[in-house]
């Protein structure tokens, strides 16, 4: 509710898929999980930020992972993002014929930054996460 602030830089994400034929396509997350209407972008941001590891009571698999790496400071960024990309990839491929060239072989999330101060330079590439299906 604080409104927009031009001086503050912002990061954002583009969801993409790599097809069996080698093409890179933009994926519409809302077509994959339409129940998350209006909320997908925060779900992704929270996943990249490992928010599900910052709860007072953790899910069992997250607890095991956190113990194995030795605590939150050692947890890599977006530790559970591959789970989400895998789910989206499976949903996308589920709707296609088994031999369709448009089937995905990998799903990736590209992170960009809009640097502060100007109404330009919207697409400074930051990093990507990729999940082979």
């Amino acid at each position: 509710m604080a409104g927009g602030n031009l001086e503050r830089g912002r990061t954002y994400f583009i969801l993409r898929g790599e097809t069996l034929s080698g093409e890179v396509v933009d994926l519409s997350s809302i077509k994959l999980t339409n129940g998350m209407s209006g909320r997908t972008w925060t779900m992704v941001t929270a996943t990249v930020d490992n928010q599900s590891f910052k709860l007072s009571k953790l899910e069992r698999q997250n607890e095991v992972l956190l113990d194995s790496v030795g605590g939150l400071p050692n947890l890599p960024v977006a530790a559970r993002l591959p789970d989400l990309l895998q789910a989206w990839g499976a949903l996308y491929n589920e709707r296609l014929a088994p031999d369709a060239p448009t089937r995905l072989r990998a799903v990736r999330l590209d992170m960009y930054r809009w640097n502060s101060g100007t109404y330009s330079a919207y697409e400074t590439y930051v990093e990507s996460w990729r999940k082979e299906l």
């Binding site: 604080a2 927009g4 969801l15 129940g35 998350m36 209006g38 929270a46 899910e59 809009w114």
Partner: protein, 308 residues
């Protein structure tokens, strides 16, 4: 005296409250029918973050539920309960169950995403309907009843007025929080363009309109636009008076369409709830299905003069 004031502000009957019940439950029903719970069941439980009362349930519940088949069963449970609530069958039970299940469902969605506002008002409306006689008219229950229930007009007017007040509060409090958090900075020429552009950069929003990138060209005029929106939100409680209603609701429709095209943020549930302001009894009379409402027919209350 309070009853008199309510009856002068709202002229509602069992029929109009029943129509509102059908609309609110029907809105959730249609939305859920078109939602793939199968797909929701594919989302990994490892990114789930129970919020609010959702924390009270053990993880084993979510481990079990957040899978394709259990989510599909949950969907059809919701569909049946909302269908009963919409058509007014076993209404007292159906509306309470609908409230419970919808709150839980919305809690699941918010535990994956964030606490957004769109459906909140409709959830409050479900709460109001669950504890008011919304099955007395426009319902299967009323058709099956051997004897028409006789209640004073207040019983139907009060819930409708409460819904109007709840909607007023959503907008009024929205303006207050903007003023409290951002103060005069909220009227900065860069506020709207920055926010709108941010919501237009990714491909994770439901729509991908790019009109936001045009806003910096007209940034000097935008403080006036933002101020108008703030004033509209602050004045929205006047919607309870008939003469203000078309202006305030009309502005609201334009506002919500503007946020869709400029910010890729849409509030379809909130807009659908505008239908509670329609005078359903008058509309029915105009359509000629009945010259007067059921409540008036039994002569419970003289027809109050609405305040305008």
């Amino acid at each position: 005296m309070a009853q008199g004031i309510v009856n002068r502000l709202v002229v509602a009957t069992a029929f109009s409250l029943g129509v509102i019940r059908a609309l609110v439950a029907g809105t959730f029903l249609i939305s859920i029918l078109f939602t793939s719970f199968w797909a929701l069941g594919h989302l990994p439980v490892t990114i789930f973050r129970p919020s609010g009362a959702m924390k009270l349930l053990p993880w084993s519940v979510y481990d079990y539920l957040l899978r394709p088949y259990p989510m599909e069963i949950f969907k059809w449970l919701l569909v049946i309960v909302l269908l009963f609530a919409a058509v007014g069958f076993l209404t007292p039970v159906a509306t309470k169950l609908a409230l419970l299940l919808v709150v839980f469902y919305q809690g699941v969605l918010r535990s994956f995403g964030h606490f957004n506002h769109d459906e909140m008002l409709a959830i409050y409306y479900l709460g109001v309907l669950a504890f008011t006689p919304c099955g007395d008219g426009f319902s299967i229950d009323s058709l099956l009843a051997r004897k028409r229930r006789e209640r004073p007009t207040f019983a139907y007017s009060y819930p409708v007025l409460l819904m109007w007040v709840l909607m007023s509060w959503t907008y009024f409090s929205s303006a207050l929080i903007k003023i409290r958090v951002a103060g005069l900075k909220y009227l900065s020429p860069d506020n709207l363009p920055t926010l709108a552009i941010f919501h237009s950069l990714d491909n994770l929003h439901d729509t991908h309109f790019k009109l936001a990138f045009w806003l910096p060209e007209v940034r000097q005029y935008l403080p006036v636009v933002v101020l108008l929106v703030l004033l509209w939100e602050l004045l929205f409680p006047l919607v309870i008076f008939r003469r203000w209603r078309p202006w305030l609701l009309g502005f609201g429709i334009v506002f919500h369409l503007a946020t869709l095209f400029l910010m890729n943020i849409f509030f379809p549930f909130q807009l659908a709830m505008y239908l509670v302001f329609i005078d359903w009894d008058r509309l029915r009379a105009r359509l000629g299905t009945s010259a007067s409402s059921p409540t008036r027919q039994v002569g419970l209350d003289p027809e109050p003069t609405p305040l305008s």
